[in-house]
C-alpha cells in the first residue's frame, strides 16, 4: 500500500496547508513540511529494495472492463526523482517561510507547491501512460498557479499564461503521441511498453509517435525553440523558481526522455533530433545567459543551457552518455536550487536583482556569498565540486560518439565552447555580484539574512561538495539503479572519480576554464558585439502570434455562430434528416409483417382532433393566446391516446403535466409580447415548410416501419418479476421505483436542478410589466375572482386526499409518486391562481427548495439503506403486514423511494410556477418565499 501513499500524502499536504491561514508562520510551515517528510521516510524505507534491482508496483483496479487501472511503479529512475522532488521540496518550503513577506498569503503558496509536488510525484511514479499524462497536465496547471502567484503583477500573469500555453500545447502533442504509442503496443501499461522496443521501432507510426512525444518533452524542458517561456516564468517568487527550474517542472521533460529511453531511443531519428536540439539549446542558453543583467535571468538561461546539455547526453549514441545525463540531473538540481535560493536572499536583502547595481556584496554578507560562490563554481564545473564530475563525463562522451559521421569532432569542440561560456557566466555571477567595486543605488541596506534562511542552501552546497569529493560515497547506488532503469538491462562498468589521469576531457575542462575566464575579462568587446546584433523579442513574437491566431479563430467562430438560433437548428435538422432518411431509401419495404389493426371511429375522431389542433397551432402562431389554446387540445388528445392504447399511468401523467404546462405558458405569456410580428419572407417560409415536412415524413415513416414489425421485447422479464421481485402489480411503477430506480433517481435530480436553475434565472429580473394587453385594454382590477377563491379553498383537502390515494395505490394500480406529486402541485397552483402568492406565502410559509432537497435525500437514502443489509445500492425490500381494521397491507422500501419522488415533483413544480407567479405580485424581494 505504500506506493500510493506517497502522492496521496502530498495531496493531503496541499489540502492541509490551504487551511493553515489562522496559524502562525512557523506552525503553517511545520504542518506543510510534515507530509513530504513522512513521504520521504517511506521512500527511504523502499530504497534498499529498489537498489537491489527490484521494481515495486501497485495497481488499483478502476474500470477493469476497459483495462483502466490506477497504477504506480517505483524503479531506480523514479526513485531518484522522488528523492529530488521531496527533498528539494521540503527545503523550498522551509526557505519560503523566510522569503515570503507578511503581505503574501502563505497557505496559498504552500498549497500550490504541494499540489505541484503531487503532480510531479504522479508523473515519475505512474505505471500507466494515460495516468502519467494526467499528472503531466496537472504540473502545467499547478505551475500556472505558482507562476501567477503575484497575480497583481502583469508580468506574472503574462509569464504564467505563456508557460501554460507552451507546456499545455506540448501536453496535447504528448497525449497524441502516448495514444499512438498505446495503440502500437496494445497497452497503456508502462511495463509492457518499455518491454516492446522492437514492436515500437519497427512500426510505421514510430516517427510520428516519437516526434509527438519529443514535442511534449522539449516544450516542458524549455528546449530551443520553445525555451522562451522559462525566462518569463521567473516572475514567480524565487522559492517557486528554485523548485520549478532546478529539480521538477523542467526536469519533467528530461524525465520523459529518460523514461521512454528503453522503448524509443536507439534509432537514427532519436539521436539526430534529441542531440541536435540539446546541442543548440546548450549553446544558445549559455550564450544568452552571459548578457542577462538580471540575476534570475542569468540563472534562467543557464538552466536552459544545462537542460540542453542533459538532452544532448540522452541523444548521444554511447551507453555511458545516459549515465552521465542522470548524474548531471542530480548535480544540476542541487547547485541550481541553491543558486536560486541565494539569489532570493540577495533580492530579499537588497531589493534588486540587477547585476549592474549589485557589486561588492562580499562585505555585507560574506557567509551567503561563500555559499553562492561554491554553488556557482559547481555550475561552472570547477574541480572538487559535483558539477565538475558530470561535466568531465559529458566531455568524455562527446569524444566517443559517432553521430555526425566524419564531422563528429564538431560536437566536442562545441561542447568546450559551451563549457567556456558556462564558466564565463558563472564568473560573472561571482565577480559582478560579490566583488567589482561598490554597490550602486541599492533600494535597501544589505546585511546577512535570518540565520535559518541559509539552512537549505547550506545543505545543498554541502551536497555539492560531498558528491564532488567523494562521489562513490553517496550517489553510487542511486546512479546505478537509475541508469539500470534508463538503459534497460545491461549497465556498462563505470567509475565516477575525481581523478582519471591526464586525458582529453581534462584538457577540454582546462580550455573551458581558461577560455571562460578570458571571455569574462574581455566581456566589454563581446557586449558591444552583442548589442550590435538585431534584437529579437520572443515575447512580442509570441504575443502577436497568439493575437493573430485568436483573431482568426474569432472570425471563423463568428462566421459559423451568428447568434441565430434558427440557423443552428436548421443545421441540426438537416443532419438528422440526412442520417435518419438515408437508411429508409435502402429498405425494401416500409411496412412490416405484423397484422394491421383496423381503424375505429373513436380513434379516427381523436386523430383528427389532434391533427387539427396541431395545424391550428401553426396557423395562428402569431396570435399567441390562440395557438396556446390550440396546443392544449393537442396535449389533451395525446393523453387520450395513451388511455386508448392501454397506458393509464401515462395518460394520468400527461393530463396533469398538461395542466401545469399550460398554466405556466399562460403565465409566461403575460411577460412576453402577445403577438409575434410577421417577419419571415415567403422564401423562408417555403424553406421552413420544406424542412419540417421532410422531417415529419421521415419520422412518420420510421414510426410506421417500427410499429408494423413484430415486437421482441425484454419486457417479459419485468412482467414476470414485478410481483415476485418488486412486490407490485403496476409494472410501470415497479420499473420506475425498483428495476430502474437508479434512473429515476437521476431524473428527479434533473427535475430539481431545472427548478433551481429557474429560480436563479428569475433573481433580479428587470421585468417589463405590461399594465394592459396588446390592444391597449387595461387588465381587470379584480385580480382574484371570488367564486374561484371560495371553491378552490374547499377543493384543496379533497385534492390532497385524492393525491394521497393515487400515491398509495401506485405500486399496484395506476398512480405513484410522479402523478400524485403533480396532482398535489396542481391543487396548490389553483390556490395561487385564486388568491395570489402573497396570500399563500402568509398562510403557507414553505421553502420549496428544502422540499426538493428532502425529496432527493429521501430517495438517495432509501437506496443507501440497502447497504446496511449487505445488499447492492437500491435493493428493494417488501413484506405483507396484517394491520387491525385495515387488513393486510404491503409495505415496501420502494414506497419510501416513491415518497422522495413525490416530494421532488411537488417541490420542483411549485417552485417553477410560484417563482414566476411571485413576480406578478409586485412585492419587495424580502417577502419572496421560494
Amino acid at each position: 500500500m505504500t506506493l500510493l501513499w506517497i502522492p496521496l500524502l502530498s495531496l493531503l499536504g496541499s489540502i492541509i496547508s490551504s487551511m493553515t491561514g489562522k496559524l502562525t508562520r512557523n506552525q503553517s510551515t511545520g504542518l506543510t513540511m510534515l507530509m513530504p517528510i513522512i513521504a520521504l521516510l517511506m521512500t527511504i524505507s523502499l530504497a534498499p529494495a529498489v537498489f537491489s534491482g527490484e521494481v515495486i508496483r501497485q495497481t488499483i483496479s478502476w474500470i477493469p472492463l476497459l483495462g483502466i487501472d490506477i497504477a504506480f511503479r517505483l524503479d531506480g529512475l523514479a526513485l531518484l526523482f522522488v528523492f529530488m522532488i521531496l527533498g528539494i521540496g521540503i527545503l523550498v518550503i522551509f526557505y519560503a517561510r523566510y522569503y515570503l513577506s507578511s503581505k503574501d498569503s502563505m497557505p496559498k503558496l504552500y498549497s500550490y507547491l504541494m499540489l505541484f509536488m503531487t503532480a510531479m510525484l504522479g508523473i515519475v511514479m505512474s505505471n500507466n501512460i494515460i495516468q502519467l499524462w494526467f499528472f503531466w497536465e496537472l504540473t502545467s496547471i499547478s505551475s500556472f498557479l505558482l507562476i501567477s502567484y503575484w497575480w497583481h503583477k502583469a508580468e506574472a500573469r503574462k509569464g504564467a499564461i505563456m508557460a501554460l500555453t507552451i507546456t499545455g500545447g506540448g501536453g496535447l502533442a504528448l497525449l497524441a503521441g502516448l495514444l499512438l504509442l498505446g495503440n502500437i503496443v496494445g497497452s497503456y501499461n508502462l511495463d509492457i511498453i518499455l518491454a516492446s522496443r522492437e514492436i515500437i521501432q519497427s512500426h510505421a507510426w514510430y516517427e510520428v509517435t516519437l516526434i509527438l512525444i519529443l514535442l511534449g518533452a522539449f516544450t516542458k524542458s524549455a528546449q530551443f525553440p520553445f525555451h522562451f517561456w522559462l525566462p518569463h516564468a521567473m516572475a514567480a517568487p524565487t522559492p517557486v523558481s528554485a523548485y520549478l527550474h532546478s529539480a521538477t517542472m523542467v526536469k519533467a521533460g528530461i524525465f520523459l526522455l529518460a523514461r521512454f529511453y528503453p522503448a524509443l531511443a536507439g534509432t537514427e531519428l532519436w539521436f539526430i533530433l534529441v542531440s541536435l536540439t540539446g546541442l543548440t539549446t546548450l549553446l544558445f542558453g549559455a550564450y544568452i545567459a552571459l548578457f542577462k543583467h538580471d540575476l534570475k535571468g542569468l540563472l534562467a538561461y543557464s538552466t536552459i543551457s544545462h537542460l540542453g546539455l542533459i538532452t544532448l547526453l540522452l541523444g548521444l549514441d554511447t551507453q555511458l552518455a545516459a549515465v552521465a545525463a542522470i548524474f548531471h540531473i542530480i548535480n544540476h538540481a542541487t547547485f541550481k536550487a541553491s543558486l536560486f535560493m541565494a539569489t532570493g536572499i540577495i533580492d530579499h536583502e537588497t531589493g534588486t536583482r540587477d547585476m549592474r547595481k549589485l557589486n561588492g556584496m562580499w562585505r555585507f554578507m560574506p557567509y551567503t556569498a561563500t555559499l553562492a560562490m561554491v554553488a556557482a563554481a559547481a555550475m561552472a564545473g570547477v574541480p572538487l565540486l559535483n558539477g565538475f564530475l558530470s561535466k568531465e563525463m559529458f566531455f568524455a562522451e562527446t569524444l566517443h560518439q559517432q553521430l555526425l559521421g566524419s564531422m563528429s569532432w564538431l560536437i566536442p569542440v562545441l561542447a568546450t565552447v559551451a563549457g567556456a561560456l558556462a564558466v564565463a557566466y558563472s564568473a560573472r555571477f561571482i565577480h559582478d555580484v560579490f566583488f567589482n567595486g561598490d554597490p550602486i543605488d541599492l533600494p535597501r541596506q544589505p546585511s546577512e539574512p535570518p540565520r535559518y534562511m541559509r539552512v537549505p542552501i547550506e545543505i545543498l552546497v554541502a551536497l555539492c561538495l560531498v558528491v564532488g569529493i567523494f562521489p562513490n560515497f553517496i550517489v553510487d547506488d542511486i546512479l546505478k539503479a537509475a541508469s539500470f532503469a534508463v538503459i534497460g538491462g545491461y549497465v556498462p562498468e563505470f567509475k565516477v572519480a575525481l581523478w582519471h589521469g591526464f586525458n582529453l576531457p581534462l584538457l577540454m575542462s582546462a580550455i573551458a576554464v581558461t577560455g571562460g575566464v578570458l571571455l569574462y575579462t574581455q566581456r566589454r568587446y563581446l557586449y558591444q558585439y552583442h548589442a550590435s546584433l538585431p534584437s529579437f523579442d520572443a515575447k512580442k513574437a509570441f504575443d502577436s502570434t497568439i493575437y493573430v491566431v485568436t483573431k482568426w479563430c474569432q472570425r471563423k467562430i463568428c462566421a459559423i455562430e451568428n447568434g441565430s438560433l434558427q440557423r443552428y437548428l436548421i443545421l441540426m435538422f438537416v443532419v438528422v434528416l440526412f442520417f435518419a432518411g438515408w437508411p429508409l431509401f435502402e429498405m425494401n419495404q416500409l411496412g412490416g409483417q405484423k397484422q394491421l389493426t383496423p381503424i375505429d371511429v373513436h380513434n379516427a375522431i381523436g386523430a383528427a382532433l389532434l391533427m387539427i389542433g396541431a395545424i391550428s397551432t401553426v396557423i395562428w402562431y402569431r396570435t399567441r393566446m390562440i395557438s396556446l389554446l390550440m396546443i392544449s387540445v393537442v396535449g389533451l388528445m395525446v393523453s387520450v391516446a395513451f388511455t386508448r392504447f392501454s397506458a393509464p399511468d401515462l395518460a394520468l401523467t400527461q393530463l396533469t403535466v398538461e395542466v401545469v404546462n399550460i398554466v405556466l405558458l399562460m403565465l409566461a405569456l403575460f411577460f412576453l409580447p402577445q403577438r409575434s410580428p410577421k417577419e419571415s419572407s415567403s422564401i423562408r417560409v417555403l424553406r421552413d415548410l420544406g424542412i419540417s415536412a421532410a422531417l415529419g415524413i421521415v419520422v412518420s415513416s420510421i414510426c410506421y416501419a417500427l410499429i408494423t414489425r413484430p415486437l421482441e421485447s425484454i419486457s417479459d422479464f419485468f412482467l414476470a418479476n414485478a410481483k415476485t421481485g418488486g412486490g407490485g402489480t403496476n409494472v410501470v411503477n415497479v420499473i420506475l421505483v425498483d428495476f430502474r430506480g437508479f434512473d429515476t433517481l437521476g431524473e428527479i435530480c434533473v427535475l430539481g436542478i431545472a427548478a433551481l436553475g429557474i429560480s436563479k434565472l428569475l433573481v433580479n429580473l428587470p421585468l417589463i410589466m405590461p399594465s394592459s394587453d396588446s390592444e391597449g385594454r387595461p387588465w381587470a382590477k379584480e385580480r382574484y375572482p371570488i367564486l374561484l377563491a371560495s371553491i378552490s379553498q374547499s377543493l384543496l383537502p379533497l385534492a390532497l386526499m385524492v393525491s394521497f390515494y393515487i400515491f398509495l395505490r401506485g405500486h399496484n394500480l395506476p398512480g405513484g409518486g410522479f402523478i400524485a406529486g403533480l396532482v398535489t402541485a396542481i391543487a396548490f397552483i389553483l390556490q395561487y391562481i385564486a388568491h395570489g402568492s402573497n396570500w399563500i406565502s402568509e398562510r403557507l410559509p414553505i421553502n420549496y427548495r428544502k422540499i426538493i432537497a428532502s425529496g432527493i435525500t429521501i430517495a438517495l437514502f432509501t437506496g443507501v439503506g440497502s447497504w446496511f443489509f449487505g445488499r447492492p445500492f437500491m435493493t428493494t425490500w417488501f413484506d405483507y403486514f396484517d394491520i387491525p381494521f385495515i387488513g393486510e397491507i404491503e409495505l415496501a422500501s420502494a414506497l419510501i423511494f416513491d415518497v422522495g419522488v413525490y416530494f421532488t415533483v411537488v417541490g420542483a413544480t411549485l417552485m417553477i410556477l410560484a417563482s414566476l407567479g411571485q413576480l406578478t405580485a409586485n412585492t419587495p424581494k424580502e417577502e419572496v418565499n421560494i
Binding site: N603, I631, S676, S680, S715, I768
Partner: protein, 123 residues
C-alpha cells in the same frame, strides 16, 4: 390504425419543427412542446399499439409493454422541466435584451421597443 398513428406523429413533428424555426421565443417554446409530444408518442409506440390490453398484472394474459411506458412517463416530467426552463430563459432574455427575437443579432424594427409606452418599466 398504424398508418394513422404514424401520420399523427409525423404531423406533430412537422408542426413542431416549423414552429421551432420561427424567429421569436414563444413559438419556439410551443414548437418544443409539440416536438416533445411527438417524441413521447414515438417512444411509446416502440411497444407497439396495444388496444384493450391489461396494464396491471391480474387475470389477463395479454399485457401492454410496460417498458416504453416507464421511459415515457419520466420523459414527460423531464420534458416539462425543460420546457419550463426554456420559457423562463425566454422571459429573462426578453427582460435583459428588450426583445424576444432569437434569429440573429440584427434587431429588426418590429422589436417591441415601440410598445414601451404601455409598460410600467422595471419592477
Amino acid at each position: 390504425m398504424e398508418l394513422l398513428y404514424a401520420s399523427c406523429v409525423g404531423i406533430l413533428v412537422s408542426c413542431g419543427v416549423f414552429l421551432i424555426l420561427r424567429s421569436r421565443t414563444f413559438p419556439v417554446v410551443l414548437g418544443l412542446t409539440m416536438l416533445s409530444y411527438a417524441v413521447n408518442l414515438f417512444l411509446f409506440s416502440s411497444g407497439r399499439l396495444s388496444l384493450n390490453k391489461a396494464a396491471v398484472l391480474g387475470n389477463s394474459t395479454q399485457y401492454a409493454d410496460p417498458l416504453p411506458q416507464a421511459l415515457v412517463l419520466t420523459a414527460i416530467v423531464i420534458g416539462f422541466a425543460m420546457t419550463a426552463f426554456v420559457v423562463i430563459l425566454a422571459i429573462r432574455g426578453r427582460a435583459d435584451l428588450g426583445s424576444d427575437h432569437v434569429d440573429g443579432l440584427v434587431l429588426d424594427k418590429n422589436s417591441d421597443k415601440k410598445n414601451d409606452k404601455n409598460k410600467k418599466g422595471k419592477v
